[in-house]
Symmetry: C2
Subunit: 673 residues, 2 copies
């Protein structure tokens, strides 16, 4: 029998932890009047205000369940607040009560208030145990929505306000006397609470952290410092990211780190005969682990915020690494926030569109229709906001408070950008499909029609015959070409084959068009190129781009990487010497790309109800790996002679060239080539 879970008003748990995590950043750079690059002027270790509106959970909640039971049932009621009651057939009881229900139909309400956080309820029982079968009561504006729950909070002793991380004590791998202090090295990027023990009773230490050795030693500019006062010789920090740690004040103490993580299992796997690529896969997986927390974070050192465009990709990588549904759902809820919607998600218009698209991806990989039904009303409210800001033609129109991101790159972006309209189109497609799942036929049809119209208009307005490519803006007259919209056109199949070929020649393989420098956009670029079967480009990038990072000593994937830079130039970003994140989740896309295009596993029906396996050796001689399903994994092995597949579910087709082979549940399938 399923266990009881703690339940709450839909989204309350996610909004609560989102609020805490978005307010945890501290400013990193020391203010220096003589440093003109110091545009934000933040002092060190000062609270850093979030860049968008952070929504908290409601402090009141009312949930109900009506059910008929055949036999007597005892319900035990608990809450995380004394301001709570269970109302059984119109009779109220305090928490910590056992109530016996006679056979028959019962209506039960859970009502509560908690000023400091949010109310949560737990009932033990057979039918009336707490889980998402409880609904928001009819009197509430979210009437009928399912109660919130989490796989992590199933025990009566769980405290919903404390995020349930795991901890492991780890120690530096080396310790070096340098610059009049001691430099500790954990051997790789780590995250957790720095622990000082056996120090002087009241020592007063400044601890300089660094993702790089240079950062930790550059005490005037290192991004994060800890002001550590020991009590009885002991100090424990808040959770921070570092590889190196430099202390000048004292030398006589023991230092360790309580590594903080979510115990997600690498259910996906990939091995090949190229050790650099194997190491890359492991590095991507470790980068994912560090950034997989209350939600998927962007990076683990600097802001540790939840960014929709970053999460769009991290979600997809997750489907090939953990296939953890809970973390995707938490991420989506945190990004969504509450009504009224006044700005784009993260204030970035493209991030709103990717948010919508990410929900369809979630459905495609998990088949979790329940969540689509739960979140669909929240999607509708966002969509109302989006459509309220389109131009008269229903195309994207830039508002002064819209942050048009697309990528860290230079665009011709005063007018409505091509890439932005393509993402709008993509979001319309996702809205249409999610509306269909949620049973909203009218929106399904309308959104589909609009997506087709935008696709057509984008091809009419933004294509330049002269450049043989899509241009950023058709109004400015500058005919500026960047890779981004052209990549989307291929990836989303928004243009003719003829134009695609023109793009590949005039943009992708044209070195005069500015290169992508973020792993973020490499994701889209490589996805697009693999989609059209150009695996060579991917192979080249795995080595020359990601591989080059590893060769510089990266233990996690960086936020941005320009192979032409040298030394500590690599660490500079946003005007800060070490402000770049060296552990950025959006760099982990090789896990997805290798899983989808090399192992070749992809769901064709929602949640792998049907799926295809099209292994492709690319530049490798042999490959072996796994892709995680809701339950179990699909195993794939291939070399130049043979392909082997083993899957725990029916519904799959192994595709080799023109040939198709049915994959039968738990039956190894071996095909010689």
């Amino acid at each position: 029998m399923e266990k009881s879970k703690w339940i709450w008003y839909p989204g309350a748990f996610e909004l609560y932890h989102s609020m805490l995590l978005h307010n945890r950043r501290t400013s990193s750079r020391r203010y220096n009047e003589n440093n003109p690059s110091n545009r934000k002027g933040q002092a060190r270790s000062v609270y850093y205000y979030p860049m968008w509106r952070i929504d908290g959970p409601k402090r009141n909640a009312i949930l109900m369940k009506k059910a008929t039971i055949d036999k007597e049932e005892t319900v035990e009621f608990f809450a995380n607040t004394p301001y709570a009651t269970i109302v059984v057939d119109n009779v109220s009881y305090n928490p910590n009560t056992k109530i016996t229900l006679a056979p028959g139909t019962h209506t039960v309400y859970l009502q509560g208030f908690k000023a400091e956080s949010f109310p949560a309820f737990y009932c033990k029982g057979d039918t009336f145990k707490t889980d998402r079968s409880w609904k928001v009561a009819a009197s509430d504006e979210k009437a009928g929505q399912s109660a919130g729950e989490s796989e992590l909070y199933t025990d009566i002793n769980d405290i919903v306000e404390v995020f349930k991380f795991s901890y492991k004590r780890i120690f530096p791998v080396s310790k070096e006397e340098v610059n009049g202090g001691i430099l500790y090295d954990f051997g790789k990027e780590v995250f957790g609470k720095v622990i000082i023990e056996n120090a002087k009773k009241d020592a007063d230490l400044t601890i300089y952290l660094g993702e790089s050795r240079e950062e930790a030693l550059d005490t005037d500019y290192s991004e994060i410092i800890l002001n550590a006062k020991t009590e009885n010789g002991k100090y424990t920090s808040s959770s921070v990211a570092l590889r190196y740690l430099f202390i000048k004040d004292e030398k006589d103490f023991d230092l360790s780190l309580n590594f903080e993580y979510l115990p997600l299992e690498n259910r996906g796997a990939f091995k090949c005969d190229n050790e650099l690529v194997n190491k890359l896969w492991e590095t991507c997986a470790y980068t994912m682990l560090l950034n997989s927390r209350e939600a998927f974070f962007d990076g683990i050192k600097r802001d540790r915020w939840v960014w929709s465009g970053d999460a769009y990709q991290t979600n997809i990588v997750n489907y090939y690494l953990y296939n953890d549904k809970d973390i995707v759902k938490r991420t989506i809820r945190m990004l969504r926030g509450t009504d009224p919607i006044k700005k784009h998600i993260n204030t970035i218009c493209d991030y709103t569109f990717l948010f919508i698209a990410s929900i369809l991806d979630y459905y495609q990989y998990t088949g979790d229709k329940d969540f689509i039904e739960d979140i669909y009303p929240e999607m509708l409210a966002i969509w109302e906001f989006v459509e309220g800001r389109l131009d008269d033609d229903g195309m994207y129109k830039r508002y002064p408070d819209d942050w048009v991101f697309i990528d860290w790159s230079t665009f011709d972006q005063n007018g409505p950008m091509c890439a932005e309209n393509m993402l709008l189109c993509r979001a319309y497609e996702a809205m249409s499909k999610c509306a269909e799942i949620a049973g909203d036929k009218e929106m399904c049809a309308r959104a589909k029609k609009q997506s087709e119209y935008i696709k057509e208009q984008v091809n009419l307005r933004y294509w330049s015959d002269e450049k043989g490519a899509f241009i950023d803006d058709y109004k400015s007259g500058r005919n500026n070409v960047t890779r981004h919209a052209n990549i989307f056109a291929i990836l989303f199949d928004y243009t003719s084959n003829e134009r695609k070929e023109s793009i590949i020649k005039n943009v992708i393989y044209n070195d005069e068009v500015t290169q992508i420098t973020t792993p973020y956009f490499k994701f889209y670029e490589l996805d697009a190129m693999c989609k059209i079967g150009d695996y060579e480009y991917m192979t080249k990038m795995l080595n020359s781009y990601w591989g080059a990072m590893l060769e510089l000593g990266a233990t996690t994937i960086w936020e941005e990487f320009d192979p032409t830079k040298k030394g500590i130039e690599h660490y500079e970003m946003y005007g800060g010497k070490y402000e770049k994140s060296l552990c950025h989740a959006w760099g982990a896309s090789p896990i997805y790309l290798l899983g989808k295009y090399c192992l070749g596993v992809e769901p064709t029906g929602a949640g792998y109800s049907t799926y295809t396996v099209k292994p492709n050796l690319m530049c490798f001689n042999e490959i072996e790996g796994k892709v995680p399903l809701n339950n179990g994994e699909i195993y794939v092995k291939a070399n130049k002679k043979e392909i082997e597949v083993l899957s725990p579910i029916d519904g799959g087709l192994l595709i080799i060239g023109e040939n198709k082979y049915e994959i039968k549940k738990n039956e190894p399938l071996k095909i010689s080539i």
Copy 2:
């Protein structure tokens, strides 16, 4: 120089305390399966869920001030949370910092987060001290709105999460052995924390409270019980309302009450030669004191919630008793809640309309334009909600989730009621005038036009020539006449003099039309009758209605009073034996009626910029009293020979019959008749 004040995101303080107070109610009636009147079935002393959505404050806030200073200034920064920063010309500092600003222009931000409640800031300084001159920063959705502040929180040691009540230890006036226990009597209704001292170390007492002697002794049915466990012989309860207190378990202890109140001064006064009326005025003032707390409450025993229709009246009484602006502003902010607006205020449509009207009243009595400007955007959002629910003609249309209250009475109310449309019209008038004050010309004109249209339609649709009165509903065919709409027609001047005369004859003086039984609607009825100069009716009601309550021993005014009832029938309401509130703020209207019509003081320009004094002896031989202004009071004394007025401000006219006399600041004006 003005003191610094604690400041916060507009409304945060009010929403926080609103949330606490609306969740403080406990269910009062013991569940009894055999009592069919027990429709709610609430058990005793169990948390009672609020009847409408309770909004909490945002946990993040960003406020700013830009100013030019002539000389060096030191700013000291404090916050109620460590998650806070002051950003001075782009440099961030932690709380508890002193910053020296050079002469010149400075831009200063205050940013903060507090998960448990809401962030609040305090700066000492000359120009950059904290007060409402700080505005919400441009990045926020409430950009430009003034920071919230309160006259109560001006000291650095104030704790904004603790409402600043005053306390006074009081003792029972008598103690009586009865029914095997002890009955204590405080001599009148009181509110505060029950304190048991010098009891057994671990005594376990059940304390039965009663607003009446009968209630305290009726241990199966008394509304509020305290389960008191002493610690080291001492117990302190949460704050509760009572006059009587009955304990059976023990006899050996000391009992007292820490009376909890807001130290509001009775700046208004009224005395006459009728001792019953003098006693009534004092009783009304005491009823007001008990209900004047974080906001104006409805009553002090049962729900202690903030109800808009109740507050509409209490606000007006306040202008003749305390003229405390802060409590009205707090009440308005609490009622308003946050966006998105999904239901009427308190779920009651007439209460939304009265809410809008109450804001114009506030302006009329105080002249506080700042607050109108602050609250106007919040009014607009409510108005959008209201107009989104009107019928095609722009008249009120009933929605299934609308509670149509008007009064505790029986109406023909399946269709759109006449009284409801009159209140809609009244709200349109107030919207028009507030729009004018806030500089919104378009809304000013549109709302005025619509109010005139509704007035016309109401006279067309709801007047019955046969009845000589307005009927509840013109669609049902029942032609049902109640007093309510007819009273509004007179009070708001919504019909012709001829029809008014018909109403007085056919409704007001017609005993066959059901009498008003709530002091709530007596307010409107008497206001209307005084307005048309029929003081006899008021005189009669002061004696036969309010006076009769006092003669039954009331020490505060009751929620409802039907002189035809007997004994404990008086205490019954909502199906509960003692559920009626015996201390209900809406009963205090004689203070307003005597101040406005007997002392005759009324502002004709906002905030008494101009005003009239038209004393009227009514049934009295002599009257004397005061009406509070923003600063000082207008003193009025009159008997059959002479009228005397003394006012601290210019702008007034003393009107005696056809004669008008200018009232000069601080110059006593005596007119013989």
